[in-house]
């Protein structure tokens, strides 16, 4: 009996899915982007900082008085400060567009849920939300996430960034065993 050839997966607009680039090539290209960022602008890359400012801007619209009573938010958006006037905001917006374009031209732009084979969609989405909340809380406590601290701070050899990077891997590996059924 002949096995039907697997249908090639497609993204929106019928674009055929292409494989991901080799990890070393991806690393070199990402390193190049990071280098150019530091060279031109003195800043590296970041994600959570820019998102933080978008949230502060939202809060400033809804409850400006609350901002002016909260020391942390005061630094971002207190008084007449514009929380969006910062390098991290265009970087975040650019990253969203860049990810979208890469997904589109490589046929990976389509609604789907990536998960382990044994879990329901509902559980996966709940865990995604919870993981996002936990990760972001830790990222703000550490003053930067994997992009702003591990990647950017790592490249300029910041001692704190390297300590933090090790901690991310240590706790993720420590917990991975208990979640093996969730992902495999």
């Amino acid at each position: 009996m002949a096995v039907a050839p697997e249908k090639p997966r497609k993204g929106l607009f019928g674009i055929r899915e292409k494989p991901y680039i080799h990890p070393y090539l991806g690393g070199a290209l990402l390193g190049l982007v990071l280098f150019v960022a530091f060279l031109l602008t003195r800043n590296g890359l970041g994600a959570s900082g820019g998102l933080n400012r978008l949230i502060a801007a939202g809060e400033d619209l809804v409850a400006p008085g609350h901002i002016d009573r909260t020391p942390y938010l005061l630094k971002l958006a207190g008084g007449s400060l514009n929380p969006l006037d910062d390098w991290s905001v265009p970087v975040v917006l650019g990253a969203i567009v860049g990810g979208f374009v890469s997904g589109l031209i490589n046929g990976r732009l389509r609604p789907e849920i990536n998960k382990g084979p044994r879990v329901s969609n509902g559980l996966r989405l709940f865990m995604a939300f919870a993981g996002g909340a936990i990760m972001a809380y830790g990222a703000r406590m550490a003053r930067g996430c994997t992009s702003g601290q591990a990647l950017s701070g790592g490249a300029v050899l910041s001692a704190g960034s390297w300590a933090l990077m090790m901690c991310i891997f240590v706790s993720a590996y420590a917990l991975a065993y208990f979640l093996r059924k969730f992902w495999n």
Binding site: Y20, P23, Y24, G26, G27, A28, L29, L30, G31, V33, A37, F38, L39, L40, A47, S48, G49, L51, T70, D85, P90, V91, V92, G94, G99, V101, G103, P111, I113, N114, F129, G131, G132, I134, M135, A136, Y137, G138, A139, R140, M141, A142, R143, C145, T146, G148, G154, A155, V156, L157, S158, G160, A163, L164, C167, S171, A172, A176, W183, N184
Partner: protein, 425 residues
Amino acid sequence: MNLFPLEPFLRPLSENPWTYLVFGVIGFFFGFVLESSGFGNSKKLAAQFYFKELTVLKVMFGAIVTAMVLIFFSSAIGILDFNLVYVPETHLWPGILGGLIMGVGFIIGGFCPGTSLVSAATLKIDGIFFALGVLFGIWSFGETVDWYWTWWNTSGYYGRLTLMDVFHLPTGVMVLLVVLMALFMFWGAEQLERIFGKRDLKKEPKQRIFGAAALIVIALAVIVLGEPTTAEKYARLTLTRTVDGEKVTLPAEEVLVHRLVQIHPAELLDTLADPRLSTIMLDVRSEADYNLFHIRGARWTPLDQLPDVVPSLLAADANRTIVVVMSNDEAAATDAWRLLVAESVPNVYILEGGINNWIAVFGQGEADILPTPVPGAADRLDYSFPAALGDRYEAADPNPHEWEIEYTPRIELERRRGPSGGGCG
């Protein structure tokens, strides 16, 4: 002046709106490369933690070492001023606890904030939910950090601290060690993929060997070239000052000769009294002279300890911080000025005529302070004091409202943007 970072990026961005666009383009390529490497797919990210596919490690450390060797090579050949590059400050304990929390979120959710954005942008529903969780987590942090505000701001705070400082190694050696560590990790990752992921290593591209060799060669070049010394940085330094209403750019030594950074004692007094400014006074004299008399608020910082305070001066808010160096006359203070400006500290000035001149101006009413000039002696205290009262003389803290002295103002506040933007990356 070093070519990079580009001058407009050191000033507030709103002065040059096109700079936002540059950041947007950088972000675009950031997102593009993340997605192209598979970081929009949570299964690929989670596989890292089950040793089947170590893409995350390869991309991340590949990016770190690539950027690192290029950054320090650019610094070694003198086109990039590393003092101006933003090095995330070390807050050790909040970083460690935050990192541990992040690892939990990573394995539960399958993303980190940056990768969830590209995942959401390619319509992965789990990525969208993770990104929503991120927004909720960030909001929660802003609402709760007040409960442990002091701990978060002060615990394990070391300021701008690099691995070179921690291990007392030359920059090039540290760079080479990190490259070798990364290459060892790549080798280990490939072995794990062979064992757990059943991957055939023969199919891996041969070019990766050349990449590894290139990293080692550049790291060796950084060792051979060495980081530029303070004297080399000073030799190519130019400063922009306003002379007769016109901006002129001069070599640093000319700025000294034209006396554009020597401020009159009365200007220092007015600056100290200005609540919008934070004035850091560094007294570089001997400890004995400092104990006899110093201006109230001045920090005793002898020349050999000066390099240690540079990182904290670089981290200070340049939009309101003025640094004033002082010695008995001007000789030692001028050496201090040369060192600080060569290390890219902004807004540094010299107290004109030093402490001797300060006392000549503000010490007239002090019966106890007697002039005892020694002709021909350089940088020596020209007064005698009945006791080592330090800053408890009236002349150590004159009342600015009692003195009306005409002077030519020299201080021009050089506006700079906070490198971290009040939060962080």
